[in-house]
Symmetry: C2
Subunit: 370 residues, 2 copies
């Protein structure tokens, strides 16, 4: 039942859930998962220094967080070698995307993304009355030139492009993205989601001039830094683009312990390097498990591996359902043809072994149902 | 410089800061505050069980929080003796107010509040293009019947009413608020901000029927529960009003450790009772300090005391400036005539003593400047 006092736009929106969380699944199945490998969380966890700082600051939680995220923003400025006014810290990339869409997208405004790319971005676009146009993936990659062409065609305000990509794990060279900026329509902003970039090969991060107003880059502490539950993301961009957030953001929205932990995590680049190695080992191991089951792992520049189950979306869905029933939480892409895959997050050996143990039976069950 | 690609509404908004945070002041003055008594934080802190739970869960921060805040919502349902679908957990009352305004207020829609009441609510209204109408306080109380009359006059979508009030600390009987609902215009929603209600006398919480769609109540873990930095608030209301949040909220926006800590805090009602006693002692002590300096403390049902400095806003501002310079962080109301006061948060004896020590000189300095 919709409250008819809501705005016409709000009344038109469905109550929606971009993702069903693992806890919801666990409550439905009445048991915890054996391996939590579905939400692209980083099971290796954050820097021990970040954990210690958060634990030590718990007693200080009576204080609001710093509305300017000063310490964290300065640690990020040091890391990137830029001035702090090119950085906005927010409540995860999800939160920042919400603010960004609100700033740029009014009712009827066109926005371009890839068919099957990040649903939470689409949720924000719909939520502000924007009109979403999508282009298909090409060979399991987001298709940068098709996105640009579509942006021209529809007069887009925003183009969303994730590099590396979620849910496929594919990637483009950063230099190619910078080159493509020249094809961005006048008046359009490229939203470059680099959530997974720390998991990617050298050269994947787009070498964008920090003063370039054509693009805003999104980064997060949720993936390689292992702090998904903290809700800390940040945007990098030209000062006049970053300044826009001050018009709409929730100034005291950051959790204080999260700010403190994130600052320590950013300073501990040695731990990040350790995690990058662990992720690489896990990717290779997940790929091996896939191949041993006759499946094709896709190359990945992220902390997950998309595994081509070799048939259509219905088949992959059946495999996934059997895995979930066996206590292995994985997810899968939403749209065809990417939905021939399941998507498995990187985790330690025990979780990978649990996945390896459950996969043959899940495959057999899915096949027998055909 | 405004980015001209923004929506017309966004371009029209100023970059604004409802409150300057204490850390910003500290950076400006180059030294930490001696007593942090300005942000209505609860210096006594949260339940030790909440602190322990947050510290213990820090290592688990690699997991996203539960999108449904299931455990916390059920603890709140138990506390209030209602079903969980009458409760929405969000990123502090600030976050929930943002969602609520977004759901109900479109460009040009009228909203009613009190002149000098919560600025963050006003920020959200302006941010969504709403038109704010305000009525003066009456005898340092929000004027419920004037608010209702104004709502009729302007055809308001929302009326904001805080009980107890911030910044004055005054309060109405809950039963009077329920009675006033009959004067609420058709199609208007009363936003009843009860952030401080746990600090108030018995009978202050409005005994609203939980199925009554005319009102939504806002509660928080930031005040009596001592967890301002966690960003946990919740709304109580009719199921169809609560359901609206699912259309626009950031589903994975809650910090996981905050969810865990808040659940423990809600379960520890014994600690809350202890804090209520501490706050009462602190209020009496702050009142005594005020009187010993020839100032008039206002009665308070909150975790702060507004102190009438006996002259106009300029004088109170001078007193405040001298206190801040002496390392005592306090704030003051924004609007006349409330701005004849300074507002002092409740804290332990040491902080009260620091305030008591600094006040005479601050008063003398302010008087000598006249």
């Amino acid at each position: 039942m919709t409250d008819t006092r809501q705005t016409p736009l709000a009344q038109s929106l469905p109550a929606s859930v971009p993702f069903v969380g693992p806890e919801t699944h666990e409550r439905q199945r009445g048991a915890p998962f054996v391996a939590r490998l579905g939400a692209n969380e980083n099971l290796f966890g954050p820097s021990p220094k970040a954990i210690a700082a958060m634990a030590a600051s718990a007693a200080e939680i009576w204080k609001y967080g710093d509305a300017e995220s000063h310490e964290l923003r300065h640690a990020l400025a040091d890391l990137h070698g830029i001035a702090p006014d090119h950085i906005m810290v927010g409540e995860g990339i999800d939160g920042l995307l919400g603010y960004l869409v609100r700033l740029y997208v009014g009712a009827g405004d066109a926005v371009v993304t890839s068919l099957g790319a990040y649903p939470t971005f689409n949720y924000h676009v719909a939520g502000y009355g924007g009109v979403l146009h999508s282009v298909p993936y090409r060979d399991d990659h987001e298709d940068l030139s098709a996105l640009m062409a579509k942006a021209h065609e529809v007069g887009a305000k925003l183009v969303y492009f994730a590099n590396p990509d979620n849910p496929m794990g594919s990637w483009h060279r950063g230099a190619d993205i910078v080159a493509a900026l020249d094809n961005l329509p006048q008046g359009c902003l490229l939203v470059l989601d680099e959530a997974y970039v720390e998991c990617a090969p050298e050269g994947t991060a787009a070498p964008v001039e920090i003063t370039d107003p054509r693009v805003i880059r999104m980064r997060t502490l949720s993936k390689a830094y292992g702090m998904a539950g903290a809700r800390v993301g940040y945007a990098l961009g030209a000062a006049e683009v970053i300044a826009g957030f001050h018009k709409v953001r929730n100034h005291f929205g950051m959790n204080r312990c999260a700010q403190i932990g994130a600052t320590e995590a950013i300073k501990d680049q040695e731990w990040l390097a350790h995690i990058q190695r662990e992720i690489d080992i896990a990717r290779q191991d997940i790929a091996r498990i896939a191949r041993e089951n006759g499946l094709e792992p896709l190359p990945s520049a992220t902390n997950f591996v998309a595994i081509d189950c070799g048939q259509d979306g219905e088949f992959a869905k059946a495999v996934l359902a059997h895995l979930v029933a066996a206590g292995i939480f994985v997810r899968m892409p939403f749209a065809a043809p990417q939905n021939r895959c399941i998507r498995v997050s990187c985790g330690p050996e025990a979780e990978r072994a649990a996945f390896a143990a459950a996969l043959p039976e899940a495959l057999a069950a899915a096949k027998s149902a055909i």
